[in-house]
Amino acid sequence: MTKPAEVTRSTTGGIGESPLRPDGALKVRGEFAYSSDLWHEDMVWGVTLRSPHPHARIRSVDLTEALRVPGVHAVLTHQDVPGTNRYGLEHADQPVLAVDLVRYHGEPVALVAADHPETARRAMKRIKVDYEVLTPVSDAEHAVHGDGPRLHRDGNVVRHVPIRRGDQNATAPVVVHGVYEVGMQDQAFLGPESGLAVPAEDGGVDLFVATQWLHVDQRQICYALGLPADKVRLTLAGVGGAFGGREDLSIQVHACLLARHTGKPVKMVYNREESFYGHVHRHPAKLYYEHGATEDGRLVYVRSRIYLDGGAYASSTPAVVANAATLGFGPYNVDNVTMDCWGVYTNNPPCGAMRGFGAVQAGFAYESQMDKLAAALGMDPVEVRVRNAMSEGSTMPTGQVLDSAAPVAELLRLVRDRPMPAERGELDLRAMPGGVSNTTHGEGVVRGVGYAVGVKNICFSEGFDDYSTARLRLEVLGGEPAATIHTAAAEVGQGLVTIEQQIVRTELGIQQVTVHPADTTVGNGGSTSASRQTYVTGGAVKAACEAVREKLLKLAVTRFGEPRANLTPAEIVSVLGTEVIEETVEWRHRPTTALDPETGQGFAHVQYGFAAHRAVVDVDVELGLVKVVELACAQDVGKALNPQAVVGQIHGGSVQGLGLAVMEEIQVTEGKVRNPSFTDYLIPTILDTPPMPVDVLELADPHAPYGLRGVGEPPTISSTPAVVAAIRAATGLALTRVPVRPEHLTLEEPR
């Protein structure tokens, strides 16, 4: 590899700085074009008829009345799917449109295209579906072990991951047991699912869509439409948040089907309610744990059983199960572990990717256990964690040795040693539990402090061929060297486009860098998930820069008659003249391996990210109200390519964890979603959001570009258990389920 050009000194906005985001001002001004803003001459609108039942047999579908509505261009069912009526990220088990069975509340059954969205909705309501309603399977644990119906051909287990390491019969003098539950959390992105499919003269289709992974969408669309990849072209439209919820298909195949049937551009936009049915959620979980330790607080063994409710279809459940299992003991050294983790089919809404991806559920449980252990030992909760903390060279329960920084103890000490926030002031009611709602001037308020640390794998795991592609073009524009960077990696709000610019500036020593819209005319960029884009697409961009620079330096030899190590922008202009250098590079991280199916052993993850939180809460113990006073985080990011974006990610992850701790849950009763709106599904407002001081460590990972470590997910793992630990400290309650609600604080018996 060649070294970065030293001319970076003359550029600004390179790595390590926090330049303005190219999309920032537009978003703040409300001028950014999101996918729901797409418009095309002569377009029609598509809508989706969804099942009102979580489990039902379809006896018949009658389209007659719907087709009679003036303005309707098409009404489609599964019979109109030209390719294979199945899709899915890992298992193709989900019909594009239901055939004879619906397995969840909200499953798509039919599509309508009409000249106005309201016309389409009215026609949709005239479709007559005759359902034979079946009893829904709603309990994941029972779905595995019980004698209920099998929801899919191969039974109800999507995946079972066992881990067996060390003495399976180990005993210890101090033992704590716990059973924990995590409710179903929603990604709650603000931009609803939307896109525009435009039929092309070559018989193909161009789709503009908000998504996390263009190429995996393309693959699934091709399969369903029966078209080759060159006939299905995707361009990323403006994405209003994702958090995992856009990794599965929503409107993609449906809009393309309608466009091909009508011969017209078709726009689809879900409303908020439909959005709740239109994307997967975080797996609700039930987790059984037993921790055994010596009397001086060293873990001897951990045994766990985890049930993750995957809902009606597999989505990314297999990978979520692997994460919950392999990360399910936390960042602690323990020689003897037993884990059985199941991902399960039920008739609940499908669950899949969400920030934290299996590690969140396990993190709440194992950190609750560490607090319980500390209490049983009479030890300080930080001390018991530090005593068992992994470090570089530690062995994961999978047998994988941590071969880069793992500063677990240091992160814990950083949050512990921060000055405590001031005692509550009497003047600002916003700082009180209940806030401005007149609930207290301090009566009933008890402060609590809680700690947690978590671990998350970064990038795709278990032998997945995880790579990204970057195409870099260097030329002279307006007398200046200018680069255009082109990838298919999705900017979903996290700031990837800024990072791409920063990397090019640093690597080539030039100022002007344009990010080409992400589309499928360049190779796969992989998913914007698993905290991986800066690592993998960043790595690809860096590699493309190196390839371009190599060519540039060769040209420089011709121009100057001697090799040059560095070129100033003026020299680049002079070397290039009218020449254009373009390089496309595929870049992959080092390979991982599969898990042994019996023992769960293997080099499964390429990198681990660690974060710790300290939560300080004030709890009104009489009214059950919680105010998170401060939520401090320490995280190792290897290298902060964009320090402001790093802190933004840590803040965002922390708040999403806070939301799960005290308010966020999709209520599902007998398979039906009961709160599909942002009035009824609560996410934290700014008044619920505390100051969040952040310590960032930069301990370089020698295997990663610039030494960086993925940032997005780790803070989501430890936030939830830290907040709940603080509430426990204030109340003395056991609190084994999140979210914790007022009634859990006013009605539960002290532990």
Partner: protein
């Protein structure tokens, strides 16, 4: 949304005359438009009353008269309300979101429909929406539902914060119908669900809420609206209390008490008021009085915490009121 005819009557008389069983009045639209989109409400005609002369806040002659079309934000900010009846300002400001309060009218607030998820879901039975179809909330998701005034037909909570404060203040609702005008006590204006939960108000066909009268109550200057909810802003009450106290020295002479988040309508608590009157203003008095709330509560599977929370809410409201001296 179903098709409907949009009309804009020029006078109140004309509005009332044009109104019929298939008609809805449109004020701020924050409830109506939402429910029309969901097809929970499907009026054939919508009468836009926003240009009718139903604005204004009048405080001459004691008390308040609030025009039905006044916006929540404006009423909350009015110094005569803020200083004379703080519980009203507080109830308004703790409602909904700033954007909604800028649009929503006082009359519409009083008529807003329940947030019961089954009422809002047209694929489910609901006796309020479709009389006789059943009430899935009784055995379903009912954490937010009522424990007072419920029946075997309906357990939906009345959603308004404002109405709770108005109930405590003996407010009256002014109505205009085809047969003229009349005034109804706010507490009587709301009907218990019994076996007719679709009948929510004492409103005759075509009748229009034109204003709200708050009788003069000088000691309402010492009043409070306290609200307990799942997050700090923009959420319905899990429990709330509107309390006003008249004290002489350390003795409570008179009290006004109503609670929200608990009942199928705003719930005045005369038994608590009696238990407070004539007693010393101490936490023992508050605790004893609060026990009078539990009579007649009917908790459901997921809201068994509510009766206890209601007591604690009341006690705390009384304590907080001491601090606002």
């Amino acid at each position: 949304m179903r098709e409907y005819r949009f009309e804009r009557p020029g006078t109140v008389t004309e509005a009332v005359r044009r109104s019929g069983s298939d008609t809805a009045y449109l004020a701020g639209g924050t409830t109506l438009v939402d429910l029309m989109k969901l097809e929970v409400m499907t009026p054939g005609r919508v009468l836009d009353i926003n240009r009718l002369p139903l604005r204004g806040l009048d405080a001459t002659g004691g008390g308040l008269r609030i025009g039905a079309l006044e916006r929540m934000t404006d009423v909350a900010a009015d110094p005569r309300v803020r200083l004379g009846y703080p519980m009203l300002s507080q109830a308004l400001e703790l409602s909904a979101s700033g954007q909604l309060r800028n649009m929503a009218s006082i009359g519409g607030n009083l008529l807003q429909r329940t947030r019961c998820g089954y009422f809002r879901d047209v694929s489910m039975p609901c006796n309020k929406r479709q009389p006789g179809s059943g009430c899935p909330a009784i055995r379903g998701e009912n954490r937010m539902h009522a424990v007072l005034g419920t029946s075997d037909s309906c357990v939906a909570t009345h959603p308004s914060d404002l109405a709770v404060a108005l109930a405590a203040l003996d407010a009256r609702v002014q109505l205009q119908g085809r047969d003229g005008v009349r005034t109804v006590n706010l507490c009587d204006f709301y009907l218990l669900p019994a076996d007719t939960p679709h009948l929510e108000h004492d409103l005759r066909p075509g009748e229009l809420v034109t204003g709200v009268i708050v009788p003069r109550l000088d000691w309402a200057q010492r009043s409070i609206y306290l609200k307990i909810r799942d997050r700090q802003s923009y959420e319905f009450a899990l429990s709330s209390a509107a309390v006003a106290i008249r004290r002489e020295g350390d003795t409570i002479v008179e009290a006004r008490v109503a609670v929200g988040g608990m009942g199928t309508r705003p719930w005045r608590l005369p038994a608590v008021e009696r238990a407070l009157a004539g007693r010393p203003a101490t936490s023992n008095t508050y605790a004893a009085a609060a026990t009078a709330t539990v009579d007649g509560t009917r908790p459901l599977r997921h809201n068994a915490f509510k009766p206890e929370l209601m007591q604690r809410t009341l006690i705390r409201a009384l304590l907080e009121l001491e601090q606002t001296r």
